[in-house]
Amino acid sequence: MPPGAARGENRVSQAPFERRLLSVSGVDRLGAYIVLRVADPAGPVPEPGQFAMLATRERWGGGPQERPYLPRAFSVARHRDGESHFLLEDVGPGSRRLCQLAAGEMLWTLGPLGRGFTAPSHGRRAILVGGGVGIAPLAILQDGLEDDPTVLLGFRDGARAEGAALLDGARLATDDGSAGHHGLVTDLLAAELERDPVAVVYACGPAGMLEGVRALCASSSVPAQLALEAGMACGFGACFGCVVPRRDGDYVRVCVDGPVLDAAELDHVDVHAGASE
């Protein structure tokens, strides 16, 4: 039974049990980010918001710290022409190694995993709110939407803001004012909800931003779906390491109960939910 049936409408595509060795078909720079294209013609088609656990076949681990050891979680940013796209930011040994991949190299891939976004309920316009590398799952979400959504993206600086090219018709905010609004993306969201609150918000980004989005939507009672992050060891519910607290005080596993959670389920977004803070 797919968990989708269990709770809400989250879209789910199931992963093969065996991790698969896929080949990198291309690597493109996108400002401060890397877009990794992986050939996966035979694999299941991922749903928007799902992720995969990635590890390079060669040179995963080693060096004085002997890290990375475990695979790393990355949202599927796009899936077209039999290729899965991932948006990477170099923040540590694992992501750095993945950013060093070249076309033709091999990648261990487990996925698609987790519960994706649910389709916007009839009549409400979709507002996509992304922060930094967290814009990744919003791209594949936008690809699947019938009506053009409102896209609001926030970045630290100009180099990162170039990542906005991943989506269409985005309005920007940057911390240093180098592109778009000089301030937080949540400022843009506040104005949008002011203008027309008949919307559903899809958000992914650092925990601080997600908490801002959650608070805004709660106060203006707009439904919001948040794609969370958490440090993960397995990605398929085995280790219970990736939990975040739910409103009722229970912990839920981001990898199997998420990564997309209904904002109403959360009392607040714990900072530790965002590994890449």
Binding site: M1, P2, P3, Q14, A15, P16, F17, E18, R19, P44, A55, G61, Q65, E66, R67, P68, Y69, L70, P71, W108, L110, L113, A230, G231, M232, A233, C234, F236, G237, A238, C239, F240, G241, C242, V243, V244, P245, G249, D250, Y251, R253, V256, D270, H272, A273
Partner: protein, 305 residues
Amino acid sequence: MSVSFCGLELAHPIINGSGTFDAIAANRAFAGDLRSDFPFAAYVSKTITLTPRRGNPPPRLWEAAAGLINSIGLPNKGLEGYLAEDLPELVGISTSPRPGGGRRLVPVITNVMGSTALEFSKLVEACEGREEIAALELNVSCPNVKTGLDIGADPSQLELLVRAVRGLTRKPLIVKLTPNTADVAACAEGAQEGGADAVSLINTLRAMALTPPAPSGAADRRAWLGGRTGGLSGPAIRVIALAQVAAVAERVTIPVLGMGGVQSGAHAKELIDVGATLVAVGTESFREPAAGARIASELEALTTS
């Protein structure tokens, strides 16, 4: 490759380490029918306690050199929830058909932990009443309320604890020893004296990590893990596990379930060569969910060659 352990007939010697594989979650996450294509020859549940536990606050994970530190804190539904909701979903699981014969049923081994002998007794009694449970594993790594040490760290205390529950069940009783002790072999002996049918080891080794310096440069020296300290597992502990399993196997006559850092059939064979009957795989399943099946066939290739 089929092996018998405390009367259980298993398809091969590779099972999962408690708390490192959630058969129900995995069956949902993955396509196909994991229930009839299970990677392990037996399924060990995560540790079940008398009352429900939420577990430790996050972060719960830290990646160390060739290893993983976890401070999960034994989250579980509690005895009732487990018996009512989970156990029924765990019966009827079978391994994939093997060269030898067809599918083999995957028996359920329920791992339980109490903080007192009385709690252990209630847990064991309740499990005794459920035939879906093929065997029990006692997790004695929980801190003694008075001393703060693991209950299982003291041989004579451990013997008393095992004796207290031995009479309450006819099911095979496996005692999962704590590695955080001066003399694990003496603890194994204590468990045997108390009436254990087998011992399993090693559990994780106490370890710690500090919050990494913030990008700002201002280092925040709080403990990283929500549980402050955690347990180290993975390749880093394999040679320690090998020494402890060898020491225990020399000292006791009951079968030994060995684990700790196993990543390959060669690693499993080393544990068997020093006296283990079964080998459990834990952290490696996080890197590769199907690791159990791979390691079982690697082991088969090594032993039949």
